[in-house]
Symmetry: C2
Subunit: 369 residues, 2 copies
């Protein structure tokens, strides 16, 4: 039952392994492109897979509102609906709902909110969050949590975390075990190490297929994130996957992998791709900048992706200036490739026991930019 | 020199053949997807080719303004710039410039206009139109013409057409002969058969690699278009390709092919794909319509394209409602496939001498919708 996780090699605190789900096996550390509304913006599922992504994330909040989990279930589930046959992790909807300032009310039972689309009222409880994700067909279901506001006092963070822990226990009870389908708990506790450790211990006591670290994608900065990981990860089981939600830049990811994180998701590569920011081994470029207007070289000369193989910076610059869809399509494709290549390199480095050297070279490349 | 055209089979006035250019051979009748600014909106060149398109059209007006023909030339020409290795036909810029009401001045020498992008002033003469297209690297260059306004009196249409004929002669003189590169003249004359015949005779006297029929994509209706073709095509050389500019619907194309047209371009499949209109063998559907919200069938059950193979109407409906890029991407892909499949069927029908039966079945299918 659940999803299976096996560690193939370790390098310091870092690990590389395999997460086995009902829809296939994912090599970790893994980066999941974000398919908010059932689509990785600007890419076909075939292009996402071609980039090397083995698992994607979809958002419960968006899908429950539109088209609705009943529609998705009737149409055969999210995999079939969006034509992605690999593993899918769904978030619980909590993160998006919490960000609806002034439009949501949190109580012990759950959260009620008004849709950002049409203003209709909805409720999300731990049980309902689990049920929606089951109807969507998620391989990995996330427990409903309250994303602790930042900044928060110790008392506020403690109260918020303990509510999330009671919700996590209810999610565990509500989750229907099925082979290849798992439920992850989410560690909260803000920036406070004692609360993070308390949260990790409570989740471990309940028992989950994997453990996420939440609440770290809302502006704390890399040092805070790494500090929280340093407090939290040692308090989690070593034999279960660890997932750092909503993070981050290549540098964030490399640092988190070195600390023992196995899974990531983030909108950075897709959102950057739409706004004209391209990732390279030597930092990022803004393709809209006039200096690229006549540049025949690709976004990243070292990148084997189809966008870099076929198109110049000058052409992408032109597409963005002319507001042509192909600009965001190509730059998103490149960025997702860039992220997936980073994950492959991290996995290889861990496998060969050379992660420290890889991280140092990566930092040099970015510093040289 | 020039482009070579050979007719493989005829069926009534219709013909199927081969147009050989510096960048490959095009089976005719052919439909050229429109890549206005150096991109077929929403599709990679690989996807355009996979749909069966062998030649595309790009717009001189848009490219001379942005990124500028000098930039394109410096970067190795339009084929390399946009990563399309097949034949490219460029229009002359005349059609777009003429539509800049209040922003352009037409004189004997040419036309001056202000850019729709930044208001800068530009001039387009027959010589400059040919030079720009050479710098872009077009396989087929179109002569600069004045697109006669519709409606126009006989006198207005005659004066406009004769200016276009003087410009056509200047284009012919300015065109540099290169193997695999051709120059097409454009028949004008509005809705007046005598003027169309006069224009066709004048162009034939000058001598071009192919002959286009212009001025028929601005709202005249199918009967008028077919009437003009019936007057014009018999006055053109039978051994040169005929190109009906800016037309049209599948029904328009089938009727024009039956009258002897070999080449088409139109924004309909791409523009429709972006606005949610999908082509099927039984007419068009508006994918945004609520009746598609739960429909598990593809846009066209008879279509083998990747969009119809992988995605339901319900999913495309969802994507359009959620304003996701993948909606226009998939529906444009389908529409281009639909048009290319139509052309393949028309070529096959001509080859087997069954065009009349095919056209009748096609009309029945659309009527049944």
């Amino acid at each position: 039952m659940g999803v299976a996780f096996s560690i193939l090699a370790e390098d310091g605190a870092a690990r590389t392994g395999l997460l086995e789900t009902a829809h296939g096996t994912v090599r970790t550390p893994a980066f999941m492109p974000v398919g908010t509304a059932g689509t990785v913006k600007g890419m076909t599922p075939a292009a996402v897979a071609e980039a090397g992504a083995e698992m994607i994330l979809a958002n419960t909040y968006h899908l429950m509102l539109r088209p609705g989990e009943q529609t998705v279930e009737t149409l055969g589930g999210l995999h079939r609906f969006m034509s992605w046959n690999g593993p899918i992790l769904t978030d619980s909807g909590g993160y998006q709902v919490m960000s609806l300032a002034g439009r949501r009310t949190i109580e012990e039972d759950g959260v009620t909110f008004r849709s950002h689309i049409d203003g209709t009222s909805h409720a999300l409880t731990p049980e309902r969050a689990v049920d929606i994700q089951r109807r969507l067909g998620s391989d990995v279901t996330m427990a409903l949590d309250e994303c602790t506001p930042f900044p928060a006092t110790h008392d506020e963070a403690a109260a918020s975390m303990r509510l999330s822990m009671r919700w996590a226990a209810r999610c565990r009870a509500a989750f229907r075990e099925r082979p290849g389908h798992g439920l992850f708990g989410i560690v909260q506790g803000g920036v406070f190490g004692d609360l993070r450790r308390e949260s990790a211990a409570m989740l471990t006591g309940i028992g989950f297929d994997g453990y996420a670290v939440g609440g770290l994608a809302i502006g704390e900065g890399q040092e805070t994130t790494f500090g929280v990981l340093d407090e939290t990860l040692p308090a989690l089981p070593t034999d279960a996957p660890r997932y750092l939600m909503g993070v981050g830049t290549p540098s964030d990811i490399a640092g988190a992998v070195a600390r023992g994180v196995d899974m990531f998701d983030c909108v950075i590569p897709t959102r950057s791709g739409r706004t004209g920011r391209g990732y390279t081994g030597a930092g990022t470029i803004n393709i809209r900048n006039a200096r690229h207007a006549g540049d025949p070289s690709p976004v990243d000369p070292d990148c084997p992706c189809p966008a870099c193989a076929g198109y110049s910076r000058a052409y992408l610059h032109h597409l963005f200036r002319a507001k042509e869809m192909l600009g965001p399509i190509l730059l998103t494709t490149h960025n997702i490739h860039h992220y997936q290549r980073l994950m492959a390199e991290l996995r290889d480095a861990i496998g060969s026991g050379t992660l420290a050297g890889f991280a140092a070279r990566m930092a040099e490349g970015e510093a040289a930019a």
